[in-house]
């Protein structure tokens, strides 16, 4: 690094380091721009599949007594329509958008964990493929997208249809959880220098809260899927009321995820609106601070509504009133945002363009969906409209209005960023009107069919109940809607091929993603900006050339390293340089091994699954092999006359924050498991003469003491390392102690009785299995830190590995205490 390179030289140097070659090497890409586009493209393919299924539904329901498809196939079609649209389109689309856009909006060169991005993509691809292949083979899930038990239990769904859903969706959800952790950490740590939390564009605030919601929202669903699969595969009776289980436990776990999920989908779309509307209103957004408060309020309130999906299952008035009030209340923070957007438009100088057509569509459709939502929040009306087409109309108004219309606005706004070309608009306007009219014809009429009593999920209906013409018009509207989406697709292709090229920032936007070349380079910014004002009020046109000439931070290439900067999560003060891993096939191999685990379970080859689990563990342990330094480096130049240390020498680096976040996810899953156990003890039938699990007190105490000792030993190792002492003893002690804890937990499980006999034993069995697994994980991570120490990657300054060992061993100790207490409670000892 001698002298300042010319902009062209700088570009070539950075391109050499960051680029992903064409051909088969593309499979090794870990670049967020490539993977974000892949996520969005695959999500659009699944959207087309889900749309095709909806056409089959409308063809079936267009006329009474339809014989187009039989009820068995129809069940698969509507189940797959909902499953594909929710899990394979909406969530991955928002993930892909965030993966592509966030580093660009925040002034970074990539996300914090590029290989995790790639691993998440492959899990999504393989998991989604399992579902689609099953559908083509005629064994798709057929119990509805929420898979209620007992319908989805083995006695009523004997084939592998339900297993396809449980295992396929859990596989896909790996990508959701990994993306959530990565987005959360990247927003907090990988921002441009100077960009404090209060200077972030609102899009980042929306994604921060969304990621936080995903971190605690997905574990209940994953736990529910694991428990139901354990019931189906091994007859552990969590949901079987004859043996102490309860079907309502599934509904609680599903909707604990399912309702926040609606807001998880809406909030990123609201972020898109909060970004686009100021651009076209030609003024800054109104109410920045009020919107932050509203986003936080929505994030929390959305977790207090889940029982409004269960109003008719037989719940006391008090509980109904809790959830009814919370359901109505969530409309207020939503309304604050809508008024902020309207106020921004009213007080600005709005210019109309295609994205604004979709913003108009959003206002119209989403407000109707919100109003019918308040109607459904009222218990008496909900009881009348429950499971009718009124609910189908409402959920489509909310989800299409709250996600698809804003995303289409975003598509037209940011497609020029991806393609480097602007739309020629010949098809854009008719496409919008076809979508808008088609959508309202299809779904507005469903309010009426619902109010006239038509239930959801019926494959056919008689002709004398007054539903005929409404259904026929809904089907006509559905086909108009499809024509509109087809035109959007053609319009996109035409833009890629014939769109007008532009120089920079065609919309006169005021965010950082337009201060880079378009289409973007693999490294985003040739040098990183300093942000001294709100990041939604910058001028990209003059800033872009300054950054391209290397005037910002890291405007050089060093040691073939992919470098970006990490900042203090609140203030934006520079903390350290992050060295990002370069392209590798490891995420692909790891995802394939993960796929092997799920497929072996799906095909009933249970003996094979542990081998794949070991293979996954081994591959993941290979990931950090090339990371870090064998000597302390100290602070190095970062440009603009400043210096910073590398991430390996920071104790507030992204890896540590990500592991803390992963433990929050993990703790949510464990809390859900404890909730499930307590729920069954308190509420489920057939517990008066329940067999108690045999839980020896001395063995429980040994297991807990060993797990806690493992945590203490890892704590000791971390403290010793910070003081410059030896860590070997502490880490080896943690390995030994957690090994003893694992063996003790397994011994209790082996002798506690038959877990298929009653939910009391099954819950104790799974809880202690969780503890055994986490003690084993603690031992593996402590052992890995020991190995890294012997390889020379650990010192008093390079302290990440002992820190991670402490986090996971400490967590194992805490879960051992609660897990053993639960088992002893179930055993009647407490």
């Amino acid at each position: 690094m001698t002298g300042k390179p010319s902009p062209v030289r700088l570009h070539k140097d950075l391109e050499t380091i960051w680029k992903t070659p064409p051909g088969i090497a593309r499979l090794s890409s870990v670049n967020h721009t490539i993977l974000g586009k892949r996520f969005m493209l695959l999500a659009l393919i699944f959207f087309a599949i889900g749309g095709f299924l909806s056409m089959l539904i409308r063809a079936q329901l267009a006329t009474p007594h339809s014989a187009f498809v039989g009820p068995e196939i129809y069940n698969q079609i509507f189940t797959m329509h909902g499953t594909v649209m929710m899990f394979l389109f909406a969530i991955p689309m928002l993930e892909g958008f965030a993966i592509y856009m966030l580093p660009k909006l925040l002034g970074a060169r990539d996300l914090a964990f590029p290989r995790v991005t790639a691993y998440g993509f492959w899990c999504y691809f393989f998991g989604g493929s399992i579902l689609v292949i099953a559908m083509l083979a005629g064994v798709a899930p057929d119990s509805g997208w929420f898979m209620y038990t007992p319908l989805s239990s083995r006695p009523y769904t004997a084939g592998i249809n339900a297993d396809v859903w449980l295992l396929g969706i859990t596989f896909v959800e790996i990508s959701a959880v990994t993306a959530a952790i990565e987005i959360f950490v990247s927003i907090l740590k990988l921002r441009a220098p100077g960009m404090s939390l209060a200077r972030m564009p609102l899009m980042a605030w929306y994604m921060l809260v969304t990621a936080g919601m995903m971190i605690v929202g997905f574990p209940p669903l994953i736990l529910g899927s694991i428990l139901l699969e354990l019931e189906r595969a091994f007859d552990l009776p969590f949901f079987d009321p004859t043996r102490g289980g309860d079907s309502l436990l599934w509904q609680h776990l599903f909707w604990l995820f399912g309702h926040p999920e609606v807001y998880i989908i809406f909030l990123p779309a609201a972020g898109v609106l909060s970004t686009i509307i100021p651009v076209f209103a030609q003024r800054q957004i109104l109410g920045y601070r009020a919107i932050i408060a509203a986003i936080v309020a929505m994030g929390f309130l959305s977790f207090g509504l889940w029982v409004h999906h269960m109003f008719t299952v037989g719940i006391p008035h008090l509980a109904l009133a809790f959830f009814s009030a919370a359901s109505a209340l969530v409309a207020i923070p939503t309304a604050i945002q809508i008024f902020a957007w309207i106020g921004t438009l009213a007080s600005g100088r709005p210019r109309w363009d295609i994205p604004m057509l979709y913003v108009f569509g959003f206002f119209f459709v989403f407000v109707i969906g919100g109003l019918t939502g308040v109607m459904l929040a009222m218990v008496p009306f909900n009881t009348q409209a429950h499971d009718s087409y009124f609910v189908v109309a409402h959920l489509h108004y909310v989800l299409v209005g709250g996600f698809v219309f804003p995303m289409l606005a975003g598509l037209y706004h940011w497609l020029p960023h991806i393609t480097g070309r602007q739309s020629v608009y010949r098809l854009s306007i008719p496409a919008f009107w076809l979508i808008f009219i088609g959508f309202n014809v299809t779904f507005f009429l469903m309010h009426l069919t619902g109010l006239m009593g038509m239930p959801r999920r019926i494959s056919t209906y008689p002709s004398n109940w007054g539903w005929d013409w409404l259904n026929l018009l809904s089907s006509v509207g559905g086909f108009i809607l499809t024509m509109g989406f087809s035109l959007v697709l053609v319009d996109m292709i035409l833009q890629f091929r014939f769109g007008r090229r532009f120089r920079r920032d065609p919309w006169r936007a005021q965010t950082l993603e337009w201060a880079m070349p378009t289409p973007p380079t693999d490294y985003n910014f040739a040098s990183l900006p300093r942000v001294d004002m709100r990041a939604d009020a910058i001028e990209p046109a003059p800033l872009g050339p300054v950054l391209a000439s290397g005037e910002g931070y890291l405007g050089f290439a060093r040691n073939n390293q992919q470098e970006t900067l990490a900042v203090d999560m609140m203030t934006g003060v520079i903390e350290h340089i992050v060295i990002l891993p370069r392209r590798t096939y490891l995420p692909l191999w790891t995802a394939l091994a993960t796929g092997g685990f799920f497929v072996s379970l799906l095909l009933g080859h249970y003996w094979l699954a542990p081998f794949f689990a070991l293979l996954v563990t081994g591959l993941i342990l290979l990931w950090p092999a090339s990371l870090g330094f064998r000597e302390d480096q100290g602070p190095v130049p970062i440009g603009r006359g400043e210096t910073a240390p590398f991430d390996a020498e920071s104790t507030s680096n992204a890896a540590i924050l990500a592991n803390r976040t992963a433990l929050v996810t993990n703790a949510t899953l464990f809390s859900s498991l404890l909730f499930g156990g307590l729920f069954l003890i308190v509420v489920a039938p057939n517990w008066d003469s329940a067999p108690a699990p045999l839980v020896p007190v001395w063995l429980s105490i040994l297991a807990v003491l060993a797990a806690v000792a493992g945590g203490a030993s890892a704590f000791f190792a971390r403290a010793t390392n910070r003081a410059g002492g030896a860590v070997t003893g502490g880490l080896a002690g943690a390995v030994l102690a957690q090994g003893i804890a694992t063996a003790a937990f397994l011994a209790i499980m082996a002798g506690m009785g038959n877990p298929t006999a009653h939910a009391s034993i099954a819950i104790a069995f799974v809880t202690l299995g969780y503890c055994a697994l986490h003690s084993a994980i603690g031992a593996v991570i402590a052992g890995h830190a020991l190995w890294r120490k012997h390889q020379g990657y650990v010192s008093a300054r390079r302290a990440t590995d002992p820190e991670l060992a402490f986090l996971w061993n400490g967590y194992a100790g805490i879960t051992a205490v609660f897990g053993a207490a639960m088992a002893l409670l179930l055993g009647g000892i407490l």
Binding site: S196, L197, A198, R199, Y288, R289, A290, I292, A293, V296, A297, G299, F300, L301, F303, G304, G314, I315, P316, H317, L318, A319, L320, A321, F322, A325, A326, L329, I332, P333, D568, M569, M570, T571, V682, V683
Partner: protein, 103 residues
């Protein structure tokens, strides 16, 4: 990160975190009271309602005099969020005082 910054960030989510704990507490007490037929069920629910509102009321009164970014911006958002949490608590937990708790 200064102490003022950290305080502003914690306050931003403190109110609704307290609201969440209150929600879990009241919903749990309602279920336990019904399952084990507590004689003073209503009184316990009302007491829990008041206990839950106390920290929310306290948080809604805290005005942090923070200087400089980001604390000054977040402090105002936190004040609004905490007042919203108090309003949400008063409204959503109010049925604990009168609605029938068990089937």
């Amino acid at each position: 990160m200064s102490a003022g910054d950290r305080r502003a960030l914690i306050l931003l989510i403190a109110g609704f975190t307290a609201w969440s704990f209150g929600f879990v507490l009241l919903y749990g007490l309602q279920a336990l009271g019904c399952a084990y037929d507590w004689p003073a069920h209503r009184a316990i629910l009302i007491a829990a309602y008041i206990v839950t509102l106390a920290p929310l009321a306290w948080l809604s009164l805290i005005k942090v005099r923070a200087e400089g970014e980001p604390a000054s911006v977040l402090a105002l958002s936190a004040l609004w969020a905490n007042r919203a949490a108090l309003a949400a608590g008063v409204l959503t937990f109010f049925p604990a005082t009168f609605a029938s708790a068990c089937i």
